[in-house]
């Protein structure tokens, strides 16, 4: 978790908002540092986390998590973290009976219709626990990343339906949060990705968009982060709803500064 990002979003693990969908988006840069931030943030906030990881292995997230002060292994052992490792599951699914339900069932179907099995996996992972188990603060679904589903042949509307159901269950019923990363390819001809990105943008409460610099690679400024609050609980002047900062990713931290105010420049 990056304290400076918490300051920008005006939040702390103790005061995390509930019932919100946060959309993470990256364009011409790698926005995975935002995924690592929210994973460690919600684990430190004592939330029950279901992490649908389709990009990297468990050990990768665990190593980064340790740098940020959380142990995914411990969290998984004590039941705080439910980790769906897409890279492993994608292989497993071909060596099991077809009738056995699997979250990534769409991989076996020629016409991948919907993501209902994946939704049911999330629903089961985050359902309220028996009284005998440890009580977690609120459920959180984290997906890294939804664009992969498009690459695997799922339609944009099917992915939007999956997020819709997760929102209805996790955000509305269980008062939890959903965080999902989507790539912005910047390709005007990739209509499916555009529909997914814009459709999720309309569903979300908060959008964090990491962008590469228009001027290209820079050693001291790695990109800029645009923050857009879409659904304030009270309608306010829109002037303060959108902010842009530049950032530099360090070994265990990310520093944010106003545009053009990098310490290396001043």
């Amino acid at each position: 978790m990056f304290p400076e990002l918490n300051n920008l979003l005006n939040t702390t693990p103790d005061q995390a908002e509930q019932g919100k969908l946060t959309l993470l988006c990256d364009a011409k840069t790698d926005g995975s540092f935002l995924v690592h931030h929210f994973l460690s943030f919600y684990l430190k906030a004592n939330c029950k986390v279901c992490f649908v990881a389709l990009i990297q292995s468990f050990s990768h997230y665990n190593i980064v998590g340790q740098k940020l002060g959380v142990s995914l292994t411990t969290a998984r052992e004590c039941g705080q973290l439910v980790f769906l490792e897409g890279l492993k599951s994608a292989v497993d699914i071909f060596f099991r009976p077809q009738e056995d339900p699997h979250p990534l069932q769409f991989l076996r179907e020629a016409n991948s219709g919907n993501l209902q099995p994946l939704y049911e996996f999330v629903q089961e992972a985050l359902k309220p626990m028996d009284s005998g188990e440890a009580a977690w603060r609120c459920p959180v679904l984290l997906v890294d990343d939804l664009s992969v589903l498009l690459s695997l042949g799922v339609g944009a509307v099917a992915v939007l339906d999956f997020v819709h159901y997760c929102r209805a269950t996790v955000c509305r019923e269980q008062k939890g949060n959903v965080v999902a990363l989507v790539h912005d390819s910047g390709d005007a001809e990739d209509e499916e990705n555009d529909i997914l990105l814009n459709g999720l943008g309309h569903q979300s409460h908060l959008i964090l968009r990491a962008e590469g610099l228009a001027t290209g690679f820079c050693k001291d400024v790695h990109g800029q982060l645009r923050i857009l609050w879409r659904r304030p609980s009270q309608p306010t002047a829109q002037r303060d709803r959108s902010l842009t900062y530049q950032y530099k990713i360090q070994d265990k931290n990310v520093s944010f500064f106003a545009k053009g105010m990098s310490p290396a420049v001043l």
């Binding site: 049911e120 943008g201 309309h202 857009l228």
Partner: protein, 326 residues
Amino acid sequence: MLESLLAPGGLVLLRDSVEWEGRSLLKALIKKSALCGEQVHILGCEVSEEEFREGFDSNINSRLVYHDLFRDPLNWSKTGEALPGGPLEALRALCRRTDPVPVTIALDSLSWLLLHLPCTTLCQTLHALSRQDSCHGDSSPGEQVHVLGLLHEELHGPGPLGALSSLAQTEVTLSGVMGQASAHILYRRPQQRPTHQLPCETQWFSILPDFSLELQGGPPLESQPNPDPRTPSTDPTTHLTFNLHLSKKEREAKDSLTLPFQFSSEKALGPSSTDVPKVIWAWVEPDQTLEKWPCLQAAVLRGQEARWTAGSTAPWAEPGYQPHFL
């Protein structure tokens, strides 16, 4: 005017974007209808009923009938909470309703319906929905059905957008500048609009916390082309300590001046030229030679250092050197 959007009846399209969301305006118009004593039916596909009712007082909420397509629109949960027949049947049920009072129907959102239903089916149903008064035939002119449709325009191609536009009485496109929201209103049925209004206009507005609509004058003109609110709008040349521009006389003086680094035949003439300095003070590294000082080379050739030639060590680099008058 935004307040009179509901006046002609029929379909009003609210076209919004990720940057400029239109649900607040939809709720403001719903509040206005409810305050006029109308029954408001909402087909909610994108937000939960609790979230939609948030911000309305109990008087308004009592006039709202929320048809919840959000909770289980595709019947995945199989708990019996889904609306029977799915989204299309829910829409058709709104056509068959029999309310004794004037009615406003809000579709939140048309985009969700358009992504899940064939465009032609949706257009036919919308047509039937917005013409209910003429179908029933027993409604008075004051009891028209108002249909408000929220449309996220980035999600659809020009074909579906054009089809829906042709059905609409009025189109409102939301945008903004400098944090100030604006609505571009296009009346597509000019014969039905109030006589004093133009076929299209732009209205600046803001939505108050209780979802009241407040019309505004818009941002100042000089700031409109500037999308970044933090960029200063003052003239950056006001407090300069130097002149940015030269007068004619100053320009002539500047042009006639020969700068020290400019080579000219006069300078090459040596001591007879008035431009050549009489005393040369110089400091060079011991290994530096005359080759690197072409102007100086021309000047010292007439002096005692004439023996100094290219490639040899400069005289002043030798120990005990005293400068000479040329």
